[in-house]
């Protein structure tokens, strides 16, 4: 119940920020639409155990975002340089990366981070391995180095109800 109340509060905040019109009629319509969405999500059982951000360390997550942003900028410049180079210096590669995350959410963050940095795209996730397509040898090596994997794992905070916690 507490979880779905969070959803209602979140919806209300989003509506207020997006609307910017605070007349009684529009506020009433906004409240009605929030309640409708909340009711539908409840009926569809959309709110599951991962809805909470409890699974992550908030401060470490923000630090990780900063680090990831820097990596994205660096790899963007690298990929842009390869594209405009007349010789097109690419050596496409498929590689498998092991993941050390303990939660599914952690794995999703890791796989999405790989895709977000240009030069590497995660194409498949099986068990504890991610299959990655890399544009060249350098981004592939940077990934195999495992720094991103360690940083994502440091952000995690597994909860007892996670299906995978305590498995490894």
């Amino acid at each position: 119940m507490a979880r779905s109340l969070y959803l209602l509060i979140f919806l209300a905040i989003i509506w207020l920020l997006l609307s910017g019109h605070y007349t009684p009629l529009l506020l009433g319509l906004g409240a009605a639409s929030c309640l409708l969405v909340w009711y539908i999500s409840e009926r569809m059982d959309l709110v599951d155990h991962e809805e909470h951000p409890l699974h992550l360390h908030p401060i470490r997550l923000i630090l990780y975002w900063g680090w990831l942003g820097g990596e994205v900028v660096k790899s963007n410049i690298d990929v842009a340089r390869r594209i405009i180079d007349p010789n097109l210096p690419i050596q496409p590669k498929l590689l498998r990366v092991r993941t050390s995350q303990k939660t599914e959410l952690g794995q999703v963050i890791y796989a999405n981070s790989i895709t977000l940095t240009p030069g590497t795209v995660s194409i498949d996730l099986e068990g504890y391995e991610i299959e990655v397509h890399a544009l060249a040898a350098d981004p592939a090596e940077a990934l195999l180095d495992g720094e991103m994997d360690r940083r994502v794992s440091a952000v995690e905070r597994p909860q007892p109800e996670d299906p995978r916690s305590g498995q490894r």
Binding site: I14, L17, L18, G20, V72, V73, N76, V79, A80, I83, I84, L88, I90, Q91, P92, K93, L94, A111, N112, S113, T115, L116, T117, P118, G119, T120, V121, S122, I123, D124, H133, L135, A137
Partner: protein, 103 residues
């Protein structure tokens, strides 16, 4: 102060546009589907981010900035997910990456 902000906006918009154009050039130059995904990622990440940052300088502290930040969050969450969905369905649909380097 507003001149400084205008210059910052101009630099960000030009930089963002440059990355989006380079991404477009990459879409044409690169040899196969999987390598083209990397080029698309170029415009989708830093290109779009710089454009949004440039617009943020203009909107200042207002509700419009909140909306721009929401667009940013949405892009960061949906971009890689869509790219992954494309790549995975291509691979499972039988498309093989070309020009692979053999180890």
């Amino acid at each position: 102060m507003s001149v400084v902000l205008d210059i910052a906006t101009a630099l960000c918009l030009i930089g963002g546009a440059a990355f989006i154009i380079i991404g477009g050039i990459g879409l044409i130059r690169l040899p196969d589907f999987f390598t083209r995904l990397h080029a698309a990622g170029c415009g989708e990440t830093l290109g779009a981010w710089l454009v949004l940052l440039g617009l943020l300088f203009q909107s200042g502290w207002s509700l419009n900035s909140v909306k721009l930040i929401m667009i940013f969050v949405l892009l960061v969450l949906t971009g890689p997910t869509a790219t992954h969905a494309l790549a995975k369905s291509a691979l499972h649909g039988g498309l093989k990456p070309k020009h692979l380097e053999r180890d």
